[in-house]
């Protein structure tokens, strides 16, 4: 029979080596457990202040943009306009980019939009997409807006980006061409009694293309022209005699009295 004798020397040495190595390894590892982990039992809580110290990019407080000593005028306009008055707000930083380190760093329209291409920026939200159909978002097809026209107009030529609705207080509804003129007459077709105020209100939208007080913008000057010329021209646009212009759909919505009133008013401007 085999002698079940004492354990051989090498076996004892083996066990000793293994046990010492294991102790050194595992106890040694324990030295490296982070303080934060001891507290949570798993993750290192020290990471929390580190994560919280990440730099801010967006200030995201439109009101502070419009505070008294800063951009208050623009803010007022914005707050009343279509981009600011509705419940869904297009906040300052949507178009202007992150302004977290403003005023130290100013970015006008953000560089990220590539050359500050305004049209591309507006189209990001306003390009027509089938998936936007039921969202209540005003949408256009750039090449077809505002009327069949050679080339695409720059949006800001007609629309104030801080108050983009055209016409007194009008806001574009989805699917309809914006009313590029004053509010229509009431149901009976009766006009407001104050002819002067009425004509001024009618003419106001004209200035977004024809320049302040009709002195000419990207569209030709209309102020101080003869009333006859102006009304003739408007009639020609309305009847289609002069075709394929921006003015056709605009004039088409004017009544005879409105054309007369407009022509008279514009002729009287300095």
């Amino acid at each position: 029979m085999q002698e079940q004798g004492s354990t051989p020397r090498y076996a004892i040495r083996l066990v000793a080596v293994v046990v010492i190595a294991a102790l050194v390894f595992f106890l040694g590892l324990r030295l490296f457990v982070p303080e934060g982990s001891k507290l949570t039992g798993s993750y290192d809580a020290q990471s929390l202040p580190y994560i919280a110290a990440a730099p801010l990019a967006y200030a995201s407080n439109s009101q502070s943009c419009g505070s008294v000593n800063c951009h208050s005028t623009v803010y007022e306009t914005w707050a009343k306009g279509a981009h600011g008055a509705r419940q869904e707000q297009s906040k300052c930083e949507v178009c202007h980019g992150p302004q977290g380190d403003h005023p130290k760093q100013t970015k006008k329209l953000p560089k990220v939009r590539g050359d500050g291409d305004v049209v591309e920026l507006c189209l990001v939200c306003h390009a027509r997409l089938k998936a936007r159909q039921n969202t209540g978002q005003p949408q256009i097809v750039a090449q077809e807006h505002p009327a069949p026209h050679e080339g695409v107009l720059k949006c800001t030529q007609c629309h104030n980006p801080h108050s983009p609705g055209i016409g007194a207080g009008t806001v574009s509804q989805q699917g309809e061409t914006p009313e590029v003129q004053a509010p229509a007459a009431d149901k009976n077709g009766a006009k407001k009694t104050d002819a002067g105020a009425d004509a001024a209100a009618l003419a106001a939208p004209c200035f977004s293309c024809h320049g302040a007080n009709g002195r000419g913008g990207f569209a030709p000057p209309i102020a101080a022209q003869s009333a006859a010329t102006l009304s003739d021209r408007l009639n020609q646009f309305r009847s289609g005699e002069l075709k394929g212009t921006l003015m056709n759909p605009i004039a088409a919505k004017l009544s005879d009295q409105e054309i007369t009133a407009l022509a008279k008013y514009l002729a009287g401007l300095p």
Partner: protein
């Protein structure tokens, strides 16, 4: 900035999925652990169960297992974003995570393998120490812990403990590889992975790959040494390989058929993918050429009792095909699973780059590295057994109870 490797896709996949996270090295990793499990099992045929036919491959298999085992951490670490922090998974492990538990398991199993090797070659080391000088002598003496006792009592002691260690070795090897399967199958986010059968398939196909690898290595070594490979051993291994290959084919088939039958959400996409981009890899390589063909070859080895050159050729071919099949299975699980999008509406078309850490060169390099390690171990130790005049065969000693007379 690091280059972002975007994969093209069909249908719809989540944007972040277009960068495939786990690439070919992560397919090599279960392949290697499978080889460890399989080679370990082959070794145990003799050292554990005393089946004398498998004595010729026993030590080779053991050393191969160790070679594969040491390559596993290298493969895993190469793939990490921050390999230098990997040890931290042991400092503050998340006990719920299969990956972190795997780290402990791998360490433990490497240690068990080391113990097995230590006991297996202790007498050899002593003899080497006695017959060499200088650095070599110091090396072997250190390995033997400076004790050159090879008395019959010590050998009996060794054999007793080897028997015990071998049990843990089998537990550990299959536990290790099964755990790797669990790493994949425990994720509910991927339909392709989250089957419980995945673990079983991994384990069984691991045995296939181990058997095939050891057979192939034995043939190569025998050819190199201009010796005849032992036919009884080969035929026995071939028989086991056939059985386990049939079992693997069955399990893989069942898993796939269950998936189709259950027809859960996304099955249309999976079918489109499997019969499309994955058709060749899956049906032709993994099932047909990699499984059915080797089974037929091995069946003819068994049925017609092939011998001589025919036997060597047949077993070599079957082994190569089986090894390719097991790798393709791992690839189809790891990469294929990621190609099937979590949206269940699309799939990706991942192409393995040639170079770089995620390339096929790196993958082949890892396999070659493991073989080089094995070669080193074979040189340091041996795959032959000591002369019986010096060392009594362990099983003769136990069953006959004969202490014998051995010069110390």
């Amino acid at each position: 900035m690091e280059a972002i490797h975007v994969t093209s896709f069909t249908g719809y996949v989540y944007p972040n999925e277009t960068v495939v996270a786990w690439t070919i090295l992560i397919a090599v990793y279960p392949y290697l652990t499978g080889l460890v499990a399989g080679a370990s099992s082959v070794s145990v045929l003799y050292t554990g169960s005393g089946l004398k036919e498998y004595k010729p491959v026993s030590r080779l298999a053991l050393l191969a297992a160790f070679g594969f085992m040491l390559t596993v951490p290298i493969v895993l670490l190469s793939h990490l974003g921050h390999p230098e922090r990997a040890l931290g998974a042991m400092i503050t492990p998340n006990f719920k995570s299969a990956f972190s538990m795997f780290g402990y398991f791998a360490m433990l199993y490497s240690f068990i393998l080391f113990l097995e090797i230590w006991f297996e070659f202790r007498v050899y080391n002593v003899l080497q120490a006695r017959s060499s000088t200088g650095i070599k002598r110091l090396f072997y003496r250190t390995l033997t812990l400076f004790d050159d006792n090879i008395s019959p009592e010590s050998q009996a002691f060794d054999h007793k403990w080897m028997r015990r260690i071998v049990i843990f070795s089998i537990l550990g090897a299959h536990g290790l590889h099964g755990y790797v399967g669990f790493v994949f199958s425990s994720l509910k986010s991927r339909e392709w992975w989250s089957s419980e059968l995945t673990i079983v398939i991994f384990v069984i196909s691991a045995i296939v790959s181990g058997l095939a690898a050891v057979m192939l290595m034995y043939l190569v070594v025998s050819t190199y040494r201009k010796q005849k490979a032992d036919e009884v051993c080969l035929r026995g291994l071939a028989f086991y390989l056939m059985i386990f290959a049939i079992f693997t084919l069955f399990l893989e088939g069942v898993e796939f058929v269950s998936l189709i039958y259950k027809a859960k959400e996304g099955i249309g996409l999976i079918l489109e993918y499997v019969t499309g981009p994955m058709f060749y890899r899956f049906f032709i390589v993994q099932f047909l050429v990699g499984a059915v063909v080797p089974i037929l070859i091995l069946f003819s080895v068994w049925r017609f009792q092939l011998s001589g050159r025919k036997l060597y050729l047949a077993t070599a071919t079957a082994s190569v095909l089986a090894l390719a099949q097991v790798f393709m299975m791992r690839y189809n699980v790891v990469i294929g699973g990621q190609e099937i999008s979590k949206t269940m509406r699309g799939y990706l078309d991942y192409e393995v780059p040639l170079g770089g850490i995620e390339g096929s060169v790196a993958a082949i390099g890892a396999i070659i590295f493991s073989l080089c390690l094995t070669f080193v171990f074979v040189k340091v130790f041996t795959i032959d057994f000591e002369d019986e005049s010096v060392v009594q065969d362990r099983h003769t000693m136990e069953t006959s109870g004969n202490s014998g007379v051995i010069p110390s």
